[in-house]
Amino acid sequence: MKFRTFLAAAAVLALAASSAPAADKDAADTAVEAAKKYAGTTISIVWEAGLQSLDPLNYSGPQWEKLTGIKVKVVEVPTDQMFTKIVQDFKSGAGAYDALNVIPSWMPDLARAGALEPLDKYVDKFGYRDELQDIAAAYRDNQMQYDGKIYGFPDDGDVMLLYYRKDIFEDPKMKDDFKAKFGYELAPPKDWKQFDEIGQFITDKMAPKVYGAGFFRTAPYPQYMFQERFRMEGGKFFNADTMKASVNSDVGLKVFKQMLAENKFMPPGVEQWNFVDNLAAFLQGTTAMTISWPPYGRWAAGYGSGEEALKWVPKSQVAGKVGYALTPLGRPELGVGFDLSVSATSKNKEAAYLFIQWLNSKKTSLERVQLPYTLRDPFRFSHYASEKYRALWPDAPAYLDTIKTSGEKGLLDLSLLQQDKYDEAMTKAISSLWAGEDPKAILDRMAQQFDAITEKVGIENQKAVYKVWAAKPGAYPQ
């Protein structure tokens, strides 16, 4: 009897050991091992066209094929068409795509439509849950689930950072003059009042050689800045009980007026600036402060300047002179980002899942966020702490520390049903602001448009989604 018991216990132990190997293994290796049975198949993945696609085309795709024998077909789609393509494929049932890049604010629409495969069962089967804990909380808690189920893995630490010229901020004469005028130290601004004072001060002292600040102002970027400032100043997008839009509040008006006034100490024509205009101005040293996504910091340091794919990026004139800080008021907008998901109509769901687990894993993602050309930014604690990454340029540790803090404090993009429509209304409103239209009239129109969208979607439907979103720690500053 004892021997029998011993045999049974041994069998149970052996079974347990064989059935849960993934939990102890590296998630990348687990994915590779499991995927080998799909050798010879081809999976397609929707990826943002352009620089981003160089990652799966030149780096991760070929590597995956070498490791598993699975070919990766990259379907390059411009960002503004990705949602349409994904939905079209789903509605037609064609199953043309296996894995997807999804912008987190689309997740409610896509998950509700049934276009995304719930990933929990795969996460457990392939022992990925533990490694997900390494993803910074802002992304993990906010950009991964809808209605309690995992639909995507956060794969890009998109967050706004404030970049400033250390050499100007640390110049003794500038420091003295600034302190004499305003009574506090010249340092990265803690709020928008300080930002305006510092910006105007530098412009007064140094323009036209250097202006106090420069921002991207053309669609669709400034709406992320508006979302952040509006909430940090105390604004709420909607009344949670009625779902009536409240963007046309006094806070909205204050933010709009401030944003408009700031153009005056920025370079002439800043109203027309896009991502590249702003990048060029900062890298060439003509603006002392700017706010943007993490690639600005890498490129300003000269990282990847020899890359063929980055020839369009102006050679940095400010390498070694750039400081990194949180945006004024300390809670930066996460701003877009990307998730890795599996298409619900895929014919190779498991193979597609294994590919995204491998891409997203601690090991592979660390390599991918160091690719200078792909615009994927650090999003895991292990990325921030990576000795290899921290040695890439002298200020890389400060850069990673700032990204980490920004990620921890990051504010989520508004994410409702048919979010694109709300985004469009905000984008159009800001464009009207630069054109000189009355800020109050613009905000009232924006609120009307918000209400019309909400009504069309269904007030109760939207209210439920909004409540879930608003309850997340990254939605409104607590």
């Binding site: 503004d80 509700r112 239209e437």
Partner: protein
């Protein structure tokens, strides 16, 4: 001879079936082509008409019949009517300008001169450029920092001239119209040059001998002679202008706000950014109806419908 031919014909008279076949043979021959044309051309039109009566959006699974709901919505949609207004403004200003510039250019080149062919080829270059490229090029030209237009204006003004062409509502329409006229006046020029070359020289010589003034010759001889070409050119360009998309997309994306949003841009936004599939189909049919009405009226007015 005639009698024998008739006799032979009577002898070889085909059967009733043969005659029927002979009568209908042309129709039978073209039938497959017509069928294909109907399938390719008419089917999508009918399908989109059906869609316009449904509730299809990209994000919902409801495809139920909506009756005239989408069409009723058209009348409440102020942004739609504003976009039609923007389209009308751009068409009403650009078309006469293109005609005038094209006509003046044709007048310059009507006389043969050394190197005429090379100049004509160079002048026609803008029309072969893709409108999106033309728009992007003009966006750079209008750029407040690097654009040559600002620099030229600054040179003449003696001080920096910083016009935000694509941001300031006072300048966005001029910017679009300048780009549009630059690109498409050469098209008018080509057509009018060909038409002017075919004006009856003997009438012109007779008028010259009679001492008729330039304006009188233009009004009495030249314009009547080239009127049909002008009408066709205006119709082609007018329809193109109503569909204007690329240049505005590259220059302003319909902004600032929705100030320069034309009907094509609005349809695109509704269909591919807001995913309102059925409503977009309804907009398209409204545009088709308006265009059909306008084209018929114009053709009738120009007596080209005959």
């Amino acid at each position: 001879m005639t009698a024998s031919v008739n006799l032979n014909a009577a002898e070889h008279r085909p059967s009733r079936f043969g005659r029927m076949l002979e009568d209908r043979l042309p129709y039978l021959i073209v039938a497959p082509a017509i069928l294909i044309l109907l399938l390719v051309g008419l089917f999508p039109l009918i399908y989109s008409l059906v869609v316009s009566f449904q509730r299809i959006t990209m994000t919902e699974s409801d495809t139920s019949f909506a009756g005239l709901l989408n069409y009723a919505e058209l009348f409440r949609d102020t942004r739609l009517w504003a976009s039609l207004g923007h389209t009308a403004i751009i068409t009403a200003i650009s078309l006469p300008l293109e005609l005038l510039v094209g006509f003046l250019m044709a007048q310059l080149f009507i006389d043969r001169m050394p190197g005429r062919q090379i100049f004509v080829a160079l002048l026609v270059l803008p029309t072969v450029i893709s409108p999106i490229v033309a728009g992007a090029t003009w966006r750079l030209m209008f750029d407040v920092r690097f654009g040559p237009i600002g620099q030229i204006l600054s040179f003449f003004a003696g001080e920096p001239v910083r016009i935000l062409w694509t941001v300031n509502p006072a300048y966005v329409y001029p910017a679009i119209i300048i780009c549009e006229v630059w690109q498409w006046s050469p098209f008018m020029f080509l057509l009018l040059l060909a038409a002017l070359s075919n004006v009856d020289q003997s009438q012109l010589e007779a008028a010259e001998i009679d001492g008729a003034s330039y304006l009188r010759v233009l009004r009495a001889i030249v314009l009547p002679a080239i009127a049909p070409v002008i009408a066709v050119a205006c119709l082609i360009r007018g329809l193109d202008l109503v569909r204007i998309f690329d240049i505005i997309w590259a220059l302003t994306e319909g902004g600032p706000g929705s100030t320069t949003e034309t009907i094509s841009l609005y349809t695109y936004v509704q269909g591919f950014s807001q995913f309102e599939t059925s409503y977009t189909a309804a907009i398209s049919f409204l545009v088709i109806a308006l265009l059909t009405l306008i084209t018929t009226l114009v053709l009738k007015r120009m007596e080209l419908a005959r």
